[in-house]
Symmetry: D2
Subunit: 455 residues, 4 copies
């Protein structure tokens, strides 16, 4: 038996390849499947089954495409939120994979259709070797329960509690926990950064085991997490096992400065450079979204129909950016600036700048500035700069009117380290704010200097 995990760091997603040396199962694939295929090939194993734990919300699933590529069967549950599937397992049914057995467990809570799959070595009557837990059970926490209906979050949390206790709790303390997400995922909060965990570990450290049913439901149900708009599209395409990739690596057209200048009026321009570079010079009206932020924040600004042009630091970033956006269903990248911002600079085309400020400078002169904190409300509540306002960066574009700042006075934008603030800066600049500055290092720098915060 070999178990291999594949991490997609930007969305903190895990897929798994489980094999007995000849046959393999792939659990919860993303849309760009090459890495999975390559791993299977290198081991000389054939992917026979694709298991889905649930209809993922935060990325386009690759089940249907991978099934085409491999001839594998898609395995999931009987709930109607799985709108497809070759083998639809009832709770308790199993699939045999060479010398292994995978038993289906229906574990609603995170979503109604959520399934877990317990792994058994077929020899003898052993406890489960491990369990693929999807978004039901993470390391140190559980999946969010507000997605289907924010008002039923507490209720769903209680259902999740019951699922865990009735279906997972008895698998044996040595069972490996194999979840679909890790720390940083938008599908939950507070994941532990352990490299691995077992049911025994979780029983000691996870709220779902250490709290009572009611305590857990209340705590879990009161989380305040934002819900990215692209979740709606993911739910739709993942109902049918996702959609095949459109853009192949290397094929995005590169365009000249004139094309960007012309298209800038009607389309979105994403500048994927670091925030200092954006501050030092950028194309007017472009959005600043750092490379690693595209598969989340790219989906707050654009939707699947948006046409996007890219301005990158390096040529090699183009394919990365396209892949990241495609993972949340954004396939309409129409082009990228040939030569990146370096070519724009040389062309004599207009260049905008925005400002930066260090934590020390802000501390020395706080009254000169209006301060906008664009982190999630949960983060803001835990500690923020005195006098700062909070609008989550994902909501900022649509809540600009709610911001009663003076457009002619300087604004400081802050977040954790300065990345999301970069996007905030670009949104304010598009919104007519003249002097907008990124607090470099954000709350990290602020806290390192032990400057005052309030809760």
């Amino acid at each position: 038996m070999e178990l291999l995990s594949f991490k997609t760091p930007e969305i903190a997603h895990f897929a798994y390849l489980l094999s007995d040396g000849h046959n393999a199962a792939l659990i919860d694939p993303r849309r760009d499947t090459q890495e999975y295929l390559k791993a299977a090939r290198e081991r000389g194993v054939q992917i026979r089954y694709i298991f889905e734990t649930h209809r993922q919300e935060d990325f386009v699933m690759g089940s249907t495409f991978l099934a085409q590529q491999t001839g594998a069967q898609i395995v999931n549950g009987t709930h109607e939120l799985f709108g497809h599937g070759d083998l639809r397992l009832e709770d308790g049914e199993h699939v045999t994979l060479g010398s292994l057995k995978l038993r289906a467990l229906h574990t609603p809570g995170h979503t109604p259709e959520s399934m877990c799959y317990a792994i058994y070595e077929s020899e003898g009557n052993k406890p489960a070797w491990g369990v693929f837990t999807g978004d039901t059970l993470f390391f140190g926490t559980t999946g969010r329960t507000d997605l289907t209906d924010r008002n039923k979050s507490v209720e769903n949390a209680a259902i999740l509690y019951d699922s865990v206790h009735s279906k997972l709790s008895g698998l044996g303390d040595t069972a490996l926990i194999l979840p679909a997400h890790g720390p940083g995922s938008v599908c939950g909060s507070g994941m532990a950064s352990r490299p691995s965990s077992t049911l025994g570990v979780e029983k000691k450290e996870n709220d779902v085991f250490t709290l009572s049913r009611q305590e857990f439901a209340n705590k879990k149900g009161s989380e305040q997490l934002s819900r990215p708009p692209f979740f709606r599209h993911m739910e739709k395409v993942n109902l049918e096992g996702g959609i095949a990739p459109v853009n192949s690596t290397g094929t995005i057209q590169i365009v000249d400065v004139d094309t960007i200048r012309e298209k800038n009026k009607e389309t979105l321009v994403y500048d994927t450079r670091e925030p200092e570079a954006y501050a030092g010079g950028h194309v007017s009206d472009s959005y600043s979204i750092w490379l690693g932020g595209l598969p989340v924040f790219g989906g707050w600004v654009a939707d699947k129909n948006s046409e996007i042009y890219l301005i990158t630091d390096r040529e090699s970033d183009i394919d990365t950016a396209v892949t990241y956006l495609s993972r949340i269903g954004i396939d309409n990248v129409k082009g990228a600036l040939a030569g990146g911002f370096g070519n724009w600079r040389k062309s004599g085309a207009p260049i905008s700048t925005s400002g930066t400020i260090s934590a020390q400078e802000l501390k020395d002169d706080p009254l000169s500035f209006q301060i906008l904190d664009v982190r999630e409300k949960d983060e803001f509540i835990k500690g923020h700069i005195p006098g700062s306002e909070n609008i989550f960066v994902g909501h900022l574009l649509h809540k600009l009117d709610e911001l009663d700042f003076d457009k002619s006075r300087p604004v400081i934008v802050t977040c954790g380290v300065g990345h999301r603030a970069g996007l905030g800066v670009s949104i304010l600049r598009r919104g007519g704010y003249k002097d907008v500055r990124n607090l470099l290092g954000g709350m990290s720098a602020w806290n390192q200097l032990n400057l005052a915060t309030i809760q």
Copy 2:
């Protein structure tokens, strides 16, 4: 101005990217276009035009696909053997590429539609900077003239002579010669291995300049080159600018030993390992075609409709093999053996072996063997082992009946170094020959030992 050349070594093909720093032209692209796109991107230039010198016979062109990917226009001539094209130039017309000018020259001979394109720097009245010569003028030789009609080869050679003298000769001795092929191509023979050449160089060293019209026509027209069967398919698809790639890298299914055993009866199995490895153990009835030989010899055995399974030495060879075959239009690779021959070996499935022999051993005991030389007739004529018969390996499958060897007596197969002989061995084995041995090192080893040959 920058000129970049792209070599596809296995078919000795050259494509070119010519740019003025902003705009670029791509000359004679192959079907898998990533390398071209990457080079354009890295330079920050946009491909505006795709020039075709002629309807290539030996590989699938990428014009149509590259035009889709880039929005570039396809440029060629007005002859009907260009069945497509956005800008169809008459002889003498030109296209402007930023600060450069490319003038079309109709140069029939290799084929009726063949075009050359002379490059001019627009400043002043300078001679041509270079000329894309397609298969008209190579380094040290010219394109073969037997393809349209073997019986008109002498006549076509005279036409080619006239094209060169009337259209190219006056471009100026400093003009760079930029052909579509180099040494090893099946589109000509006797190319010089210079890294570059100019018209001035060719005037001193190329038959088309150093011989008289009649001498040239007779010599060129009497070449005896084989015509691979896949040329027919290439001519058809290239009439329309080629076909888009089908198989993407990494997506070929890998299959188990049982699948190969079952499919072996009805499909082709290509073993891409080196000849010694094949000799030491192989799957019965598989064809031995070394990796680098696939884009030529793969097309002598298979056609575009053949279903093929691969047995490779390493996992990474699978994609290489698929790409090589796709370049000659063979898109029907259905799978590759998981784990390569190593897995076959372990499985207990039947293994065949064939023999090898060294040049010294053969020399010491020549009378015990029947010797088959599978090189081209032109090679055979120049010197071969006394007593050897000659059937070109590409024809062997269909000429097995013409071989009056005793199937129960041992056969030695030889070629240049042992690669083509490997294919010959596998064909004879399929044909019922019991004891077939590859002369390791072939005529190279034989000649190194100064053993006797006859002409």
Copy 3:
């Protein structure tokens, strides 16, 4: 906290990088340290400490070299078999790494100096988060106890039992077990192929917990494992934290056929191709050692003073081979054949061949052959071909005299799948055996066909 593991598959070795996001510790580094440095860099963490669990026997340690490269301190125990070290910890002492704490545990048994290091998150009074167990506790088994003195193996096993029960048992069932080796290592046998384990898991599945002290000591102490000769050299250099690398990638000289012919008399030639390729043609007197087998079997044939020339399948294999050999202290690779065996073949130089046979063929005609099984005695005892003799391949060179086979009659050599048999074939050929054949697929193929074995 982040924990990263680095696997060296050919020797089944694990090193670890443990960091708190700023500072890091590297546990049990091998000699070629680039991979560790790269990982630290990519994370932006500084390696402050290098922990050694014991004086490794099966590979050259990289502690001293890595300390030079990073300025890190070497941490180990106070036993004299650690002949060096910047921080020498008594049992129970600890080192602080940012927010983490690593506590030293002296756990003799595998070797007298063996240490484990328990990891604690400093917040609160939690149980250990994990423990680096070196060769003391593996997944499902423990380190071999025969290395210091084969006659005291049972006694050492009892000491190991005590170490585990007194030092590790109380760390808490959730503690991750982080050993230095996995399945396939020569430092133990019977490792489980789990991707991770905890103390809780081991308590249920590991002999050291499930057997009594006496049962465990007897069972562990009676293992029959071979002891590679290079262990002696490893013990010497690792006493001082290993030796720095000598050969850098890409710098091995490539030499021509004449050099190999000349050097062949006085040096070792290692042919790293697959066994079928070797059988189909090879350089006389060369040893057949497949690429992946070099870091173990390369050390049975050569010692640190041997001069070695390589014949590889591909150019890229040269660096791999050199790295593999250097890991066991063999730095005297003097060259590799330019162009690999392909060039030898072309040169007309003499070529030897050996034979192959399939399991079915052997089964059909068993009486024609003398059969030599070159697996470890433990493997042989569990089931072998009736009539076969057993000499472990590592001992074969020095026990050729003990083999009372008829040199003029054909010999079949077998092992697990055919790799070690390849080495056996080449040793017998050097020893004067005329007709030696490799049983392709070895006992794997034999068993797949359900052919008879005896114990």
Copy 4:
């Protein structure tokens, strides 16, 4: 015969590998030799000779190191400025390389010891196939003649003229010209961007052929090129064939923010990010030198004894930066900031900013600024912004006193596209200028907007 060229783009250097398929010569190697070794290996050829055309001034040669690695002999001339060499050839002597012959030609002018090597195919009495011309003859121009003594530049140019006419002119118009440098090199100016050239081409387009002796000497001798300080060190180490590499890839220590803060006082900090990023935030007193500029401008600021710390955009840039600096003999890179500028930002450490300005903004308000143009004098003379002062960036550090700008008023720094200006900005900032801004896009942007320049 195969000829391969290796380009080192940042210093516009060419080395060559010439082989007959078995034996090879390497011409003018740089210090990091892996690329050469790899190419030789992939072709299966052995490097037998290392030819030096002269004692290079602009990079550390790799002759001695490559000779150690390969056993090859170093070939050069008899002049004492070659302080070493295994085969010291008189003018007219030759070396045989398999089927090829390389004839030595002493061609003083660029430097007194300069040699060219003409390549002959040994069959028959043909003209030269090509000639390695070092810095004697470039495409379209010749090497600078001011290096040995600026006052003897005209005189040396006449000597060079004579060398070319007496030694090269008669080699035959088809001879390939194979120089050591291309456009962008500091060893000459005005190279043509042809991909290849022949003697015939040069006779039509190169001043050394189209001008009279006197005209050429006067024109060449009046070039005004700066002489980087590192030339002195190169001359010294290259007298002995260069020095072996010190820093291996991947081994530079990464250090934390505190280390940089502390070391910043006594050492140099090089920030290799793009100029906009530097403007948006940087470490006080760091020098801004973009990555590609290190192997030239890194040597204007540092010398071989300087200790340097790096701040890069990405982890992968560290090795690139170290290699680039090592090529001009700067081996004292002591460390690189872990996590690049991103980590600095987060740490709360002080951040400086500088300004940027677009060409349009400057044009609209020219009187508010003092303008410093840091290009070479030759570039400045050809056209600059009215009112701008010129100090070449390489001299700026030592000529700050000569700049009579008002430190309290804003300064604009400009160059070609903004890279060298970035370095200029950082030097002015260190020099006490408060408000320093980089003209983004530099003279390129200025000219694209057709704004006024004066000569």
